[in-house]
Subunit: 455 residues, 2 copies
């Protein structure tokens, strides 16, 4: 451990740990490591100081610090939502059971154009952060507009995130002139660079169809100046593939390859409609992929070939998409769906097992964001982004295999404690950083003004 980095700030408990989690079954999510029963984990200065069992924590210094009883639970890395549009909580349930094109162009885009502004995005992002904390997500990758306000909300929540400014060659919320979209994006990166250890600014190109070749090339250029990967929706719908074929005679991934966009700093969300060549191109160029199963099902976009991608060596994370197409940000439910959809689509119940899917939502996601050295597994020295799942509920008993229990039986509502960077964000299901009543009240007020309820 790095002794020099320890703070003597008495608020953090002096020589002892700041926080001690004890008694649960710990899943480190390190490859090859088995569950550790009756685990103890200490946290100091935002990092995991030590992992062990009772007898490793007998010194007097371990009498200090706050304690979390995990004896009826599972301790695991906080989940990473690798693709979402957080403030879209505002539109949860506003337009369902519609085709993607109609949903997007007739419902979501027009309402966004009408109602999005710094105040509404801030409120929607706060609600999204609240929901993520409540369901055990400690880190997320976001792409949207008015992102200054998503940064503000995330900072207030205490979550870790890569927050990206949306880039699209149409008038967009906060970017009425598309010719300014790259300047706005560059300003966004500049503004938030170094603002917080927990929040990294990034760029998000809407898709190879809605962004021109020039926009994509320049966005990559700007993106490569900083540490954050570039996000893009790729091959989400057959219509996208067809449109691009008509425009460029190439399928989306082939097209992105030919214009030089494929590299290890590109994160492709969806990646549903791929031919074998495209799969190979993604693998060769170490492009990372976010699997977004529930949104893809709900919008009938298709089923991503996750097993094939993993077999090709592509790093795959998992995301919920925005709440308008899911309609929640609960990664536990998304893991369950990912495993089951993977099995039935391959007609092979062995594929995408519980541990693999949990890896996608922890270490996998961390790697997509470029945060793999800091989070995604529970290891001494890593950032303390940790959740405790309470097993004391009828649907979580009996316990034979903790991976199975988490993926197939648990939901976000079973998360008891949430810690990010060593700081408690939820303790015994009580929010520490955010006021749920105030946030929900504000969102009700704002969305009530939209005047679109079906009631």
């Amino acid at each position: 451990m790095d002794e020099a980095s320890r703070s003597d700030n008495p608020r953090q408990g002096g020589v002892g740990p700041d926080l001690l989690i004890h008694g649960g079954t710990l899943l480190s999510m390190v490859k090859g490591e088995k569950p550790l029963v009756n685990a103890v984990l200490s946290i100091k200065d935002g990092r995991i100081e030590k992992i062990g069992v009772d007898e490793d924590f007998t010194g007097p210094k371990y009498r200090h610090g706050e304690r979390i009883d995990a004896s009826r639970g599972i301790i695991l890395p906080g989940l990473v939502n690798a693709h979402t549009h957080t403030a879209m909580t505002l539109f949860r349930g506003y337009a369902d059971d519609l085709p993607l094109r109609q949903w997007l162009f007739e419902k979501i885009f027009p309402l966004e154009a009408e109602v999005l502004n710094p105040i509404t995005v801030y409120a929607g992002a706060l609600l999204g952060c609240l929901e993520m904390i409540a369901s055990g997500t400690t880190c997320f990758m976001d792409g949207y507009f008015f992102q200054d306000d998503t940064v503000r909300a995330t900072h207030e929540a205490g979550l870790r995130a890569l927050i990206a400014q949306g880039i699209i060659d149409f008038p967009a919320p906060g970017v009425p002139n598309p010719q300014e979209n790259l300047n706005v994006a560059r300003d966004f990166l500049e503004k938030w660079k170094g603002f917080s250890d927990l929040i990294q600014p990034g760029l998000f190109c809407h898709s190879p169809v809605t962004c021109s070749r020039n926009t994509l090339e320049r966005a990559l250029e700007i993106s490569l100046e900083g540490p954050a990967p570039l996000q893009i929706h790729v091959s989400e719908t057959l219509e996208e593939v067809q449109t691009l074929m008509e425009k460029t005679e190439r399928r989306p991934v082939r097209y992105l390859h030919d214009i030089g966009l494929l590299n290890s700093r590109l994160v492709a969300a969806h990646a549903i409609h791929l031919d074998d060549e495209e799969m190979q191109l993604l693998a060769q160029h170490k492009v990372k992929v976010v699997h977004v199963p529930e949104s893809n099902m709900k919008l009938s976009s298709g089923i991503a070939p996750v097993r094939k991608m993993m077999e090709a060596g592509i790093e795959v994370g998992i995301g919920t998409d925005g709440s308008a197409s899911n309609n929640d940000l609960d990664l536990f439910l998304e893991m369950d769906t990912a495993a089951k959809l993977g099995k039935v689509s391959a007609m092979d119940p062995v594929c995408l097992n519980a541990r693999e899917v949990l890896r996608m939502a922890t270490a996998g996601g961390a790697s997509l964001l470029g945060f793999e050295n800091e989070i995604g597994t529970l290891e001494e020295g890593k950032r303390a982004d940790i959740i405790v799942v309470d097993l004391d509920a009828p649907h979580l008993q009996p316990l034979y295999d903790p991976y199975s229990t988490l993926v197939y039986s648990a939901s976000g509502a079973d998360v008891k404690d949430v810690i990010v960077n060593g700081r408690m964000l939820m303790k015994n299901r009580i929010f520490v950083t955010l006021d749920p009543e105030e946030i929900i009240g504000k969102v009700k007020e704002i969305t009530g003004d939209f005047g679109v309820s079906t009631l």
Copy 2:
């Protein structure tokens, strides 16, 4: 209202209602009826006495009785789980990520043979009832063995159910001699006939492959003597179809038709692999079908053609299957999956909308059990099987459309109150009829003795 049926028992509040639910948005699930905002519903002698708004409930008699505040919630019919094996909670997470055949013949059947007995089935069924109450299921259709003990547990829980004795032409738990399987089944029907208004005994043939023609024919005969439908697993796997083709040169539904089994009192669970002729046969003979999407996905059995079946006029309900293949009994999550899987498998996001799916889990299920005149919708005179879902959670806000919120955003954990036959089984998430600590403790003790944990 039927004045004569009102009890003057003071315990039930004399002339006033026994229970009054007020302030929520009520979804009656009656075809064509819209959500009723700020609803009030009164319950008397186990039935819904009156549904209206505040001004319909001004008389002095409405000052009596217990009250449930639903002002932040949705009031809807209790959910009906149309296919489960309740006591299989004992095996939740015991064997995952395996092919159905290996899962069933190498894992589940051998462990069942070893550990099932009246004590273990009773404990597992109590855990299942606890889980169903906790997630808003008020009625279920069960098929398993040692069913006397599932009846006992269900009676103790206060749930409504059709509980069926399993019939299979192999030695089975509690039925070591398969030649006795029909006698055991007949005795079961005889024993529990008239035992309770809430529990109806029935028969459950395992499948057209594991039951002989004679067994199927006689089971139907016995079944038709009573009011309960006959349950059977049909066309769950391609292997089943192939085996039957080899044995009889007919696909499962065609075979069942030819031996005279298809009729309006048959409930077919799964119904995945159907050709057009089989679909027509099911529709013609008014056979009812249970859609079991999560289990079918997890075991890679396939995807049932739900939309086609509904278009053919087949009544479809929804079930979770046992906890060993799901791994929970949460119908809210099952509805979400049913809608999304229906959309993506048809590549049509309009199909299986939220309201249709909620209907499957309420009125649809009630019809499958033959209980459609008593439950499944909220109407004056019907049995008071009612749940209240609390909307005061980040993932349930904002509210544009209550059907969407329930199907796409809610989980069982959002259910606040559960009423069956006018009796509270859960109030503000506190169990009234069952003791969760005792039940979970007992199940841990029992399953600990199995000695099969991976920890």
